[in-house]
């Protein structure tokens, strides 16, 4: 089983090498003439105002939260899905309960308007 991952290992190395290779070639070919205008932060031509702080909306974090919850849920469901044919019907009931509880969370967020975009 471990031998399967030799291929993956090699692939990872090659995958890492490829961008470096590409950038290396580009680094060789491209001209380098930096000047202040070019290196200024592009802001539709305007001078950038203040630092790159943007008012962080909690909303982004909440979506991430819900994603985490459902992501973990998915992790639990994968083994279940694979082993589903070997366990009885009650497994479905258990998963149904499992999903139900989580959807309560989702419904709560939904009703509370956490999903709504202020």
């Amino acid at each position: 089983m471990l031998s399967d991952y030799h291929f993956i290992g090699v692939f990872v190395l090659v995958a890492i090498a490829f961008p470096f290779l590409a950038l290396g070639i580009a680094w060789l070919l491209r001209p380098k003439k930096p000047n202040p205008v070019k290196t200024a932060i592009y802001e539709c031509g305007l001078e950038t105002i203040g630092d790159a702080w943007v008012r962080f909306r909690a909303q982004y974090y909440i979506y991430a939260l819900i994603f985490v919850a459902f992501d973990v849920e998915a992790v639990f469901l994968f083994p279940w899905a694979v082993a589903y044919h070997r366990v009885g019907l009650w497994a479905l009931a258990e998963v149904f309960l499992f999903l139900g509880i989580l959807t309560i969370g989702l419904v709560y967020a939904w009703r509370k308007g956490a999903l709504r975009w202020q």
Binding site: D51, F56, A69, F76, E94, A114
Partner: protein
Amino acid sequence: MNVSQGVFILLSAVVLIGAAGVVLHRNLFRAALFLILSFVGVSGLYILLEAELLAMVQLLLYVGAIAILIVFAIMVSRQLMSPQFRDRNEQWVGGLLVAVVLFAVLAFILLQVNWPTAEAAVPEDAIAQLGQALVEGDQFVLPFEVASVLLMVALVGAVIIAREK
């Protein structure tokens, strides 16, 4: 010193260096990246331990969910992270001391104890077995359900806390 031991050393080096980076690095964002690096390293270790489902779960959850949350949090409170002042409080010496001594003691213990290890090949349908274990009535169905409750509660709690009134 066969191949996998070599790979093990490589991976553990990646993990430990990543961890060191997390702990020592002044810039919090860089620390977060090192954290992600160590997570990937740990995932590699799992593959070495032939727990491939766990490796993928590690990747999916830690790198895909938790790391993102951390980065989000860093971005939220980012403007304070002026790199110049040392991100270390006054009790760091004590912490370091405790950590080192703890490591020494743990290492000592671990080397002392002879663990009941046994050579065995991981069964083909390990993942299916795990799935069955998670759902089977007499095995881990309770933690399975409690995990969902935990998630729901965490979700609701976090939503309440994070929501802007």
